[in-house]
Symmetry: C2
Subunit: 228 residues, 2 copies
DNA sequence: CCAAAAGTGTTGGCTATACACCCATGC
DNA sequence: GCATGGGTGTATAGCCAACACTTTTGG
């Protein structure tokens, strides 16, 4: 029985949620889109496999990224090569560099999540289910934790942070309430005392990530409308 | 590489949270306390393994129990027999029958969770970490979902349900506010129009589980005091 | 060169809701 | 003694309005 790790890597580019997909270079499903991933090596912890694959696929040192285990998928028929149990990981990061092709991947692309949810892109194996689970986890994490800041390159503005929420949840948020909530949550963001010169509009205050990790009470989303 | 399933089975007995532990009948850790579990068989889905082990260890048909995947544990040195990745499952149920010994278990007992957290009972492998993760998941689930009702034998009173929360969270709740919250949440519980004759005090209304699954807004716990 | 408009960020107020805390009543 | 119900103050979300600061446009 083989154990693999698959990665759901999210980022937000120009206001839309994207996921990193590879074009499979080997059989099965050669040429189809799939989540990046690979097998766990002897003596390698699951988290280590995830970080290694992350590095191999995106070239990003995992320490700067949020990475958490998502779910284990083990349906007997999920992989035609045989019995493969896959541990899925969720990774969140700021607009990452254009990924390079990995060992098993012919090419890697940032793909809008909405295009997969709307059926314009189909994924190999059970990867669409994994993606949906990852999206739901990310949405939930935004409610209860401060990981939204992990999507932002520092320094960032409150509006940048709000756009993360809007992109992941697919709903517009009230700028006023959002700002109040973020500022009142101790340690969510810390001001650096500078302002961003805008192309248009009033200059926005700049912030860094704070030490806080949990949001109590949570930042609630009324309803899920979907992704733009 | 072997894949196993371990179970964190919780129930509430006389106001305290209990977990099902076995006394290991085989090496390694023979004679020590551990979570019930076993290896995934060929062609068997992960959930099926969990339900089978649940049945073998407790004699309970899994359909009546809440069962969900918790986390995958895969540290290279977690099992001296070799590389074993374990998928942990969380099961919640009403005061279950005294379990019978399973294949790999010399004996099975309901053990107060507090006795493990306070160091009076130690668990084999990394099972204490799994238990802690399961407890945290259960506490979180009580906030956001209606699974607390899964702990109650039907029919139950509002006070029964409240005792579940108090046992899992380890904090007392205001009976008045709790009642309002539960009654206002559409589909959490449905009255059956009868009353339970009490040993002392006013008779309490009886209820069954409703169709609702999520709690919006969540039922919040102010802080974690611990387990009694 | 100056004035107005447009766009974005920031601040504040109002109202409905939910909850914590306390008290009253029924059985 | 416990279940049930109500009442009040506080905190917060949703909604709305005003203001601040900048760039662009038009004379």
């Amino acid at each position: 029985m083989a154990v693999a790790v698959d990665l759901v890597i999210f980022t937000v580019r120009d206001g839309r949620l994207h996921v990193l997909l590879i074009e499979r270079g080997n059989m099965p499903h050669r040429g189809e889109a799939a989540l990046p991933g690979g097998f766990v090596r002897d003596g390698e912890a699951l988290d280590a496999t995830a970080r290694r694959e992350l590095r191999e696929e995106t070239g990003v040192v995992g320490d700067t990224l949020h990475l958490e285990q998502l779910h284990a998928y083990g349906a007997p028929e999920r992989d035609p090569r045989g019995r493969i149990v896959s541990i899925a990981y969720l990774a969140l990061g700021p607009d990452l560099p254009t990924p390079k092709a990995g060992t098993d991947a012919a090419a890697a692309h940032w793909t809008p999540v909405s295009s997969i949810l709307h059926g314009q892109v189909t994924l190999a194996f059970d990867h669409e289910q994994i993606l949906r689970d990852g999206l739901e986890r990310a949405r939930s994490q935004l409610e209860h934790t401060t990981i939204a800041a992990a999507f932002c390159k520092e320094p960032f503005t409150i509006a940048d942070l709000r756009q993360i929420y809007e992109a992941v949840w697919g709903v517009p948020l009230d700028p006023s309430n959002f700002r109040r909530k973020v500022m009142k949550t101790d340690g969510f963001v810390v001001p650096i005392g500078e302002r961003r010169l805008p192309e248009v509009g009033r200059p926005a205050g700049l912030f860094r990530r704070g030490p806080a990790e949990t949001l109590t009470p949570p930042l609630m989303r009324s309803g899920n409308v979907g992704l733009r």
